[in-house]
């Protein structure tokens, strides 16, 4: 369904002085969420924007999702705190007839990992990004908790429980996942002293990169409150290294450099063992997400080859779990 008419009808209210829109394109969309790109035509210069929305009837966030209203607030707070982030320009209201969602500035740049990790134009960025990512994560964890929208509080036990439940729901035996769940239960750290905002999905694909480095952190869908070490572990999961397996931080750099930048910016000591725990949990989580894609492929309505093939990537996380938990060489 196109959103052209309601956007045209509302644009002058949302952007005073705007005379229309140009170049409306849908970038992605499932049943519950859509992303659109367009330019706001304005006499003082066109404004490049992105609209994210959940059509009416899909307003209630499924499962773990924070919800688009919460995402808009978090993105705006990140922007105001100086974290690389798109400025939120408008939050949709019921009378706009577009469901829930928001309009944000469109940030130019690259999100495709293989280009970021290999293309010559990002050579300089690759040298800078590990430090920039550590600083950005520190900035996220420093956002004032009293001003945050309502978010789930996730504990270690809660996260392990959620993964176990989802794995069980597939009813397909994966002994390596069982071994990982056991390891997580036996090595679960005590409740974190620090409880902060956690981005929850800080990795390639959700980071816009330019030749000078990090331009924007996107997709706060999995944001929650919990152990700040979780974000540091997730960005080190091997699935986000895209072949550069000796550079744990998104295929870009070392854990040591990430932790140093994080500590310098946050003043909080990194608990290396906790980060490793979250890396193991994150590896298992991505594996379970791959299995979930396969389930959705079978259940329909999206019988796409991409979904099907992601199901055959769950074994990648099994070898990574074994490399973490039962390495064959010292």
């Amino acid at each position: 369904m196109t959103i052209e008419n309601p956007v045209k009808a509302g644009i002058a209210n949302w952007f005073p002085g705007a005379t229309g829109i140009d170049g409306l394109t849908q970038l992605s969309g499932g049943a519950s969420q859509e992303t659109w790109s367009f330019d706001v035509v304005h006499p003082s210069g066109n404004i490049a924007v992105i609209l994210r929305r959940a059509p009416a009837g899909y307003g209630a966030a499924p499962g773990r999702a924070a919800g688009l209203e919460a995402e808009a607030v978090l993105m705006q707070q990140a922007y105001e705190a100086g974290i690389p982030s798109p400025r939120v320009r408008y939050v949709l209201r019921p009378q706009d007839g577009l469901g829930s969602g928001f309009i944000m500035a469109r940030v130019d740049g690259e999100t495709i990992p293989r280009k970021i990790l290999r293309d010559a134009q990002f050579a300089q960025a690759r040298g800078l990004l590990t430090g920039q990512l550590g600083k950005a994560i520190a900035g996220i964890h420093a956002l004032d908790k009293s001003r945050l929208p309502t978010l789930r509080l996730m504990t270690v036990a809660g996260e392990i429980g959620d993964l176990a439940t989802e794995y069980k729901s597939f009813d397909w035996p994966r002994p390596v996942f069982d071994l990982a769940l056991r390891w997580l239960r036996e090595n679960a750290p005590a409740q974190s002293d620090a409880v902060t905002l956690v981005h929850g999905d800080f990795r390639h694909g959700n980071l816009i990169i330019g030749p000078e480095g990090l331009r924007a952190v996107l997709d706060w869908e999995l944001a929650h409150v919990g152990d700040p070490m979780e974000d540091l572990g997730w960005i080190c999961v091997n699935s986000w290294r895209f072949g550069e397996i000796d550079k744990p931080v998104g295929g870009l750099g070392t854990r040591e450099d990430l932790f140093a930048a994080y500590e310098a910016a946050s003043g909080r000591a990194v608990d290396v063992a906790r980060v490793m725990f979250w890396e193991v949990l994150g590896t298992l989580r991505w594996g379970i997400m791959c299995c979930g894609m396969m389930q959705r492929f079978r259940a329909g309505p999206d019988h796409s080859m991409e979904r099907a093939m992601i199901g055959r990537r769950a074994s990648e996380t099994e070898i990574d779990l074994l490399r973490l938990l039962a390495p064959r060489r010292a």
Binding site: D178, L179, N238, M305, S315, E316, I319, D320, A326, R328
Partner: protein, 125 residues
């Protein structure tokens, strides 16, 4: 008995046509979809070629490890249950070697270009 060509020969003939004749004519999303489709067909060909040997060896290892018999799926369900209940873990004799071998055999079919797999496959023992 079915006649020749074999399923793998047929798949390879189709993928060769798609790669050399169709792919150069496509761009954008259609080209991306074709790459995903070719990857899927290559996976199917690898599975047809290697699955039987891998499954037989896995069954044999599982039967020995568990002291039980049954279908490959049943044996894997039993191993999963024993790990989940705490009866078996990495310290159980033969278990680590078994899950490593099984995982390597899965990757050889699923994603033989995955960097972790290549590192482990090529490592000097």
């Amino acid at each position: 008995m079915q006649d020749h060509p074999t399923p793998v020969e047929l798949i390879n003939a189709v993928t060769e046509f798609l790669r050399t004749d169709v792919a150069p004519q496509l761009s954008g999303h259609a080209a991306f979809k074709l790459r995903v489709g070719l990857n899927a067909l290559d996976l199917v060909a690898r599975q047809i070629t290697h699955e039987a040997d891998g499954n037989a060896a896995e069954s044999e290892r599982l039967a020995k490890l568990l002291g039980a018999s049954g279908s490959l799926e049943d044996l894997n369900r039993l191993l999963s249950a024993r790990i989940a209940s705490g009866d078996m873990g990495f310290q159980a004799p033969g278990l680590t070697e078994h899950v490593w071998q099984t995982t390597m055999d899965k990757l050889a079919i699923d994603q033989p270009n995955y960097a972790s797999y290549r590192r482990e496959r090529d490592a000097k023992p």
